[in-house]
Amino acid sequence: MISYGFKQRIASVVVYIFLAVMAFLSIFPFLWMVIGATNTTSDIVKGKMTFGEAVVANATTFFTQVNAPLIFWNSAKITIIATVLTLLISSLAGYGFEIFSSRFREKLYTLMLLSLMIPFAALMIPLFMLMGKFGLINTHIAVVLPTVASAFIIFYFRQSTKAFPHELRDAARVDGLKEWQIFFLIYMPVMRSTYAAAFIIVFMTAWNSYLWPLIVLQSNETKTITLVISSLGSAYYPDYGVVMIGTVLATIPTLFVFFAMQRQFVEGMLGSVK
């Protein structure tokens, strides 16, 4: 007869083993990436799990094959422009939807939320043709423009604006501030944690985006780090040591943002269920 306490202990051991395995499997590819960057490709495809001495050789090959400063600048430029514009335009809209009333407000808002369900595959061909008409193919602004009015971020800002104290706004109106002054001088500073969470989501999405840049950016001078990793890594026999250098470099910014703003990150992901 097994006692209750013994059964409990077995159960808790099983729980810890399960969670430890999950955590290990989640972290392992990061470890593999860093170790891989120090090994030759022939060692990587043999599954070598110890640090090697090829890091300098890999990095040298990477930096001769890829114009790394330009590629990173492209990624950074796209990410910065996308983040600033998306935060501005989508927060204006989220605030506007919540604060001001008009006849079609809720209908427009529902329609906008429905657009979240439209798969990008259904948009990419007409979008590509549209960008061709505008003469924007192979430009970074074409990568950014369709992402700026993000229904998800607008939704997130509208939800968060419900917590913005309307007394503040009323007091500002009494003081004679114009509506745009209230937004930029009062709303933005008060809602900075909302902006922080939205920042992380937009930053990650822009930095990691792939399909749309793949379509729009056609010359090597405009490509982003994600596109470069993909073209290095999708060869039939990729030079993995070199690709690993690229993935490490491409992951550092997002890891940095994640650890610097972890609390807001989790809150940001949860913005939609609150």
């Binding site: 159960a11 729980v15 399960f18 969670l19 955590a23 989640s26 590819p29 891989g36 495809v45 043999k46 599954g47 989508s90 204006l92 809209a93 605030y95 506007g96 939807f97 604060i99 001001f100 009333s101 008009s102 006849r103 906008m112 657009s115 369900m117 439209i118 798969p119 990008f120 595959a121 259904a122 990419m124 061909i125 007409p126 979008l127 043709m129 549209l130 423009l145 009015a149 229904a151 509506e179 937004f183 990650m204 990691n208 792939y210 793949l214 990793i229 993909s230 290095l232 890594g233 999708s234 060869a235 690709v243 690993m244 690229g246 491409a250 997002t254 994640f258 989790v266 949860l270 269920v273």
Partner: protein, 304 residues
């Protein structure tokens, strides 16, 4: 008087409101509404490149006789039907275990399991590709553990290629979905659990009959978003197989050809047929709509 009664606002035309939402609405109209309508119009046209002419329902007939489309549809459904339930179950179980305040290192474990979310889809796919090569890490470990005698042909066998892709996607998104469940679980009243525990309801029964029903809205949310995500699968299959950017077949026997990848190939590879590509893209729109509706419907039924 009027200053006090401003709260229940009467709908009226407010210039300020339009100024605030205007830029976003204009951008959505140009880059979302116009393209989706344009795409609908294109789906009834046919021809090479930009020279399209009206074709009526020809594209729809073509769908049913196109082995590549049927392959892409089948693959997309396999990924959706296998991957989404596996991932969400795993996420739900992990969240339930991590929700126990007595667990040590909760924060560390949660961060670790969530970490895959920060990687780009392309970067993690390359990592998985390098781990699953013929004599690579995964096969070495499996052979050494005695699970298999000969290495699994991940990259050359259609079945195992799909398994590899499902493992990769599950790795990337389980932690993401877990966070939603954890947040929702934090809102559940602890006393309900306590009462059930005192009544002698076993742990697994509490999970099935208490936790899962109370999480229904969040489970619905994650199911719908995961469905949309899986039906649009592109980055991973494109990078693993080189089928998107390098051309050629998408994986062994096109086993990794998804609808999005097929649309991309129809548009930018071979002889581009934009009209037919638009028709295939509307298949995704239709599937998303139908599946989301079914999921909402199923969730509503159980509530009654």
């Amino acid at each position: 008087m009027s200053a006090i009664s401003t709260r229940p606002k009467r709908p009226r035309f407010d210039v300020n409101g339009w100024l605030f939402v205007g830029p976003a609405l204009a951008l959505i109209a140009i880059f979302m509404v116009f393209p989706i309508l344009h795409s609908l119009w294109m789906s009834f046209q046919s021809g090479l490149g930009m020279r399209l002419s009206f074709a009526g329902l020809k594209n729809i007939y073509r769908l049913f006789n196109d082995p590549l489309f049927l392959m892409a549809l089948t693959n997309t459904f396999i990924f959706f039907l296998v991957q989404v339930p596996v991932m969400l179950t795993l996420a739900l179980i992990t969240a339930a275990l991590l929700n126990n305040p007595d667990i040590k290192f909760r924060g560390v474990l949660r961060t670790a399991i969530f970490l895959p979310c920060v990687t780009s889809l392309v970067a993690y796919t390359v990592l998985f590709k390098s781990m699953f090569v013929a004599n690579g890490l995964v096969n070495t470990v499996l052979i050494n553990l005695g699970i298999v005698n000969v290495g699994i042909p991940w990259m050359t066998d259609p079945f195992w290629c799909r398994v590899m892709i499902i493992i990769a996607i599950t790795w990337r998104w389980t932690g993401y979905n877990m966070i939603f469940y954890l947040a929702a679980m934090q809102n559940i009243d602890r006393s309900v659990y306590e009462a059930a525990r005192i009544d002698g309801v076993p742990t697994w029964a509490r999970f099935v009959s208490l936790t899962v029903p109370m999480l229904k809205p969040v489970i619905l949310f994650t199911t719908v978003t995961s469905t949309i995500g899986t039906l649009q699968l592109f980055d991973e299959v494109s990078t693993i197989t080189g089928g998107g950017s390098a051309g050629g077949a998408a994986g062994p026997g096109n086993s990794a050809l998804t609808l999005s990848l097929y649309i991309y190939n129809l548009t930018f590879k071979f002889a581009p047929n934009l009209g037919y590509a638009a028709t295939v893209s509307y298949v995704i729109v239709l599937l998303v709509a139908i599946l989301s509706f079914l999921q909402f419907y199923a969730a509503r039924e159980r509530k009654a």
